[in-house]
């Protein structure tokens, strides 16, 4: 395994488990958190890991024709926790530029499509699509400068088969898959590959309360169980490894085969 590794959205259960596994592989690990509570979760679980704030501000523009605002990369360590400064902040924290990147970011914006507040739709597009694009732009650009990098986006089986109320979530995941596919197509000739992993029901994070609340006789995947955090971590670990480099510009599904089932009435 090569490293260092940067995990965006690292304060979730899957992120912490992945960070622990990669640290056990001997990698330097940095995880992002959007608030103090998330940072505290990371520090409690992974005291050796670097914790980097990541917020949706900026990039600041002084005018329509001005460039991005100065970043922490310039020794100007203002409170700049935007995606544009993340690669340099990760490099400073890890001692070397990240070669691996895992995107676990997601929001909890779920409602019927026609029931969403218009202002909330704007916020969703900014937070769940544009922000991810900015993040991937910054990270892949830094990897391009080194001609080495691997980016993996954790998508959801909802991208293919969204339940009522998951339309916005599914659309954001589909957009993310398209962005990562584009990086894989455009930058692989220069050593930067990318792909997406659709996870099915996971008894962690947003999936846990859903699984606990559903009917006892609700259908399960052909495997007879949901995907475990350990399985998800090991799948991601493989996707980050050198032998998986040829899995590029594509999307894999890890759902126990649930998506292949014929819907039941």
């Amino acid at each position: 395994m090569r490293g260092p590794v940067l995990i965006a959205g690292g304060s979730c259960e899957l992120g912490l488990a992945l960070g622990a596994a990669l640290a056990a592989d001997g990698m330097a690990v940095a995880l992002t958190a959007r608030d103090a509570a998330g940072a505290a979760r990371i520090r409690a679980a992974l005291p050796e890991a670097a914790v980097l704030p990541l917020c949706a501000r900026g990039p600041e523009r002084g005018g329509a024709h001005e460039d991005f605002a100065p970043a922490a990369a310039e020794g100007d360590d203002a409170e700049d926790d935007t995606p544009e400064t993340l690669p340099e902040r990760a490099r400073a924290a890890l001692g070397a530029a990240p070669r691996l990147f895992v995107d676990l970011l997601h929001s909890r914006f779920e409602c019927l499509l026609a029931g969403a507040d218009p202002a909330a739709i704007d916020l969703w597009a900014s937070r769940d699509i544009a922000f991810r694009a900015r993040l991937l732009r910054a990270v892949s650009r830094a990897m391009l400068a080194a001609r080495d990098g691997r980016c993996v986006f954790v998508s959801s089986s909802a991208a293919e088969r969204a339940a009522p109320g998951q339309g916005y979530y599914a659309a954001a995941k589909l957009a993310g898959e398209a962005l990562y596919r584009a990086v894989g197509v455009e930058l692989a000739p220069r050593g930067v590959t990318a792909g997406s992993l659709r996870l099915g029901w996971l008894d962690a994070g947003r999936g846990a309360p859903f699984l606990q609340s559903r009917a006892a006789n609700a259908p399960l995947p052909p495997t007879g169980r949901t995907v475990t955090v350990t399985e998800a971590v090991q799948t991601l670990r493989f996707l980050l490894s050198a032998p998986a480099t040829a899995i590029n510009a594509t999307t894999l599904t890890c759902d126990g085969g649930f998506g292949a089932l014929k819907p039941t009435g």
Binding site: P59, D67, F68, P70, A73, E74, D76, R141, A145, E186
Partner: protein, 140 residues
């Protein structure tokens, strides 16, 4: 900004030549500020992206590729003509790193049908110098 990076335009152009040379497998000594990236080298869009990423890293500056590489040059000229604005003024606003003389050169070149892209290493060096000066002023 790292102390070893000097601000003189010649040094910046030399540093850019060092950055550009391995991308095209050429000797950096054969490159100069007048080297046209898209006409004298087999430079494609992904090469410009890599150069931009390299500028980020080498000079620790944010880079707006559209300005640094004059990518929308023809669009700006057409838009200025459509709106009745003086093209020189439009280009000076879009590319504040270019001198008035260079804007005139660029404008004359872009009006020649079929002419190759005018971007030179010197233009990129001018952008870097402008960006370095701007951010030195910001952080002062």
């Amino acid at each position: 900004m790292p102390e070893h990076i000097r601000h003189e335009p010649h040094d910046i152009a030399a540093a850019i030549a060092t950055l550009v040379a391995p991308i095209f497998d050429v000797d950096a000594a054969t490159l100069s500020p007048s080297t046209r990236l898209m006409a004298d080298l087999p430079c494609e869009s992904i090469d410009l992206l890599e150069i931009g990423a390299g500028l980020n890293r080498r000079f620790a500056i944010p880079v707006r590729d559209a300005a640094a590489f004059l990518t929308d040059l023809r669009i700006h000229v057409l838009e200025a003509e459509r709106t009745g604005e003086a093209p020189e003024a439009r280009l000076a606003r879009e590319y504040p790193h270019l001198s008035a003389a260079r804007v005139a050169e660029v404008l004359a070149a872009v009006r020649v049908p079929g002419a190759p892209p005018v971007l030179t290493i010197g233009d990129v060096a001018a952008y870097v110098a402008w960006s370095l000066a701007r951010h030195a002023g910001t952080s002062a």
